[in-house]
């Protein structure tokens, strides 16, 4: 599940302002600070993760995403990042709007529910998938939306969001090869660079 997304650094201008919404332990922001000299801030609610950010010297703001992002002014950041959080929020489409209101560009990543493992799990076992990527039981999971990258692209079209770049990530040998033929089947994590 921990795909390396260091390649997104090339989508981020050196010295720019970055907001990482749901920044976890701050590793990505620390790397962006050191490699791209960005002025970055992370939003996080988990005390342990916040502690890790402080120890790394990463700017971290304790913030409950369910209370929205109204604290942040329009276009106050060059890039707003959101890694593996979209599927856990009540209204992902409104969050996307907020990301592109606050940031000139947005970068989002999410688990692709169209992956063959989740499809096989549901269709063969008749049970909601519990995989490495989605490692929770249905009744106790932060992931309250399941969608594929095709669903996501349809939403972007509907809401006039431009897709600047996309990257599909997967683990393992045959999957990586097969991803180019059947991307929805063999993508575990989808990464999008967006603007409006």
């Amino acid at each position: 599940m921990n795909h390396n997304i260091d390649f997104i650094e090339q989508w981020i201008e050196p010295g720019s302002r970055v907001l990482d919404v749901g920044c976890g332990d701050g590793a990505l922001l620390a790397s962006l600070r050191d490699q791209r000299k960005v002025l970055g801030y992370g939003l996080e609610i988990d005390p342990k993760s916040i502690g890790s950010c402080l120890e790394k010297g990463v700017n971290v703001i304790e913030h409950d995403l369910n209370k929205g992002l109204k604290n942040f002014a329009d276009q106050s950041f060059d890039t707003v990042l959101m890694t593996h959080t979209l599927q856990a929020l009540r209204y992902p489409h409104l969050v996307l709007d907020e990301i592109l209101r606050i940031g000139g560009k947005g970068i989002v990543t999410f688990p692709n529910f169209g992956n063959w493992r989740t499809r096989a799990y549901l269709s063969l076992r008749g049970r909601m998938p519990v995989t490495k990527q989605l490692a929770y039981q249905w009744y106790d999971t932060p992931n309250i939306h399941f969608f594929t990258y095709a669903d996501f692209e349809a939403l972007c079209k509907e809401r006039n969001i431009n897709i600047l770049h996309r990257q599909f990530l997967t683990h393992g040998f045959p999957d990586r090869l097969l991803k180019s033929v059947w991307p929805n089947l063999f993508t575990e994590t989808a990464v999008y660079h967006l603007s409006r």
Partner: protein, 391 residues
């Protein structure tokens, strides 16, 4: 008895140990914001830990309304440690093994530094109510003179809770090159009307005491004990939370009972506690200092001279910030800390903000709390690593 002794030994080994205050006469004139010049002034302060060769590891602790220079360690004659001993000491969040820590009793207060109870050199009598009005910036300016006396060119951090946080923010704007970090705890960029209201009730309580004598009680050999105790009782209620008072005291009775047919008076535990706190406070604090410093709080408005724009104000800062709030603090609520944080982000300054869950109201910033200790410790230990060249 032996248990008490071993408890104290344990405390001593975990604290900076025995401490003694130092006194310095600052002979440079201090021009106050009100225009009055103090030709010289006395400061009482304590230090813990060692200043390194580069003089780069100094942390200034700024006290709040009723605080003083005795922030950590023990006096021989007093079983209680300094007011922030939980946070300052060897291996503690503000680590005396790694930092040189300075805490000064600010002018206008009443623990040995020049204040209303000191003699006015012009008249030979106590300043009393004639002590010039003070602003937080006057405390910062006086601290800067002490800093020069101690041969410190730049603070590694200026740290303070409540009014102490206001000083840390003022430092960042007045002397941006003289601090690397500002730690602003349970503070605010300005008081709300409700805050000013509580302060005015406290002042009125003091002034209503016949022994106040218009502020000249020292010449009259009187002390406005009742007024000052009442002021403290009001303040104390606002520093606690409803939840905590409920947990700690509830409706428990100290005396009497509420059964029908009883005539003796009933005293609730909270009444007894508040009266005790008020009386204790009025024994050691000066009434004129209380009035002076509550006014200083009321007057504080970080962004007033920056067109009331906190973002414009913070653009002048060069240091990094840590902002801390406590969930049940209704005197300086988390929303006030978030305003500071949002202004700093908009001004493009490095800032982290943590919102600590606590039932202890405004007083939480003084009390043990694991998450608060770890966060403050984690932030400052990274700073110490950088100063010591550890990667």
């Amino acid at each position: 008895m032996s248990l008490e002794t071993s408890d104290k030994q344990k405390d001593l080994s975990e604290s900076v140990g025995w401490v003694k205050p130092q006194k310095v006469l600052i002979e440079q004139p201090l021009k106050l914001a009100c225009g009055v010049v103090l030709p010289s002034h006395t400061l009482v302060y304590e230090t813990y830990g060692k200043l390194n060769k580069e003089c780069s590891n100094a942390i200034l602790i700024c006290h709040a309304l009723s605080g003083n220079h005795h922030a950590a360690g023990f006096y021989k004659e007093d079983p209680k440690p300094g007011w922030w001993d939980q946070y300052i000491g060897p291996g503690k969040p503000i680590d005396s093994n790694r930092f040189f820590i300075v805490c000064v009793n600010n002018i206008g207060s009443c623990f040995g530094s020049t204040g209303p109870a000191s003699d006015n050199p012009d008249t030979g009598k106590p300043f009393g109510a004639n002590f010039p009005p003070l602003r937080a910036r006057d405390w910062v300016e006086s601290q800067r003179l002490l800093m020069a006396h101690l041969n410190i060119d730049c603070w590694a951090a200026v740290v303070g809770g409540s009014l102490g946080g206001m000083q840390a923010m003022r430092w960042s704007l007045e002397h941006p090159d003289k601090l690397q970090h500002a730690v602003v705890i349970a503070s605010s960029m300005k008081l709300t009307a409700q805050n000013i209201a509580f302060n005015e009730i406290a002042r009125k309580a003091i002034k209503s005491d016949a022994d106040f004598c218009d502020g000249n009680y020292l010449q009259e050999n009187k002390i406005p004990h009742r007024g000052l105790a009442l002021a403290r009782m009001i303040g104390h209620v606002t520093y606690l939370s409803d939840e905590l008072m409920g947990q700690k005291f509830g409706r428990d009775l100290k005396a009497g009972d509420l059964l029908q047919g009883k005539t003796e008076p009933v005293e609730f535990q909270i009444e007894s506690y508040l009266n005790y706190q008020g009386d204790k406070f009025s024994d050691f604090f000066d009434a004129n200092s209380y009035i002076l410093i509550t006014k200083m709080l009321d007057y504080f408005d970080l962004a007033r001279e920056y067109n009331h724009d906190p973002v414009a104000a913070f653009r002048h800062a060069k240091c990094k910030f840590l902002v801390v709030s406590f969930s049940s603090d209704w005197r300086f609520s988390p929303a006030r800390s978030r305003e500071i944080t949002d202004a700093l982000i908009a001004a493009g300054k490095d800032v982290s903000y943590i919102a600590i869950d606590s039932d202890h109201g405004h007083d939480a910033f003084l009390l043990p709390n694991q998450r608060y200790q770890e966060a403050l410790g984690g932030y400052l230990s990274r700073l110490a690593d950088q100063l010591e060249g550890v990667q």
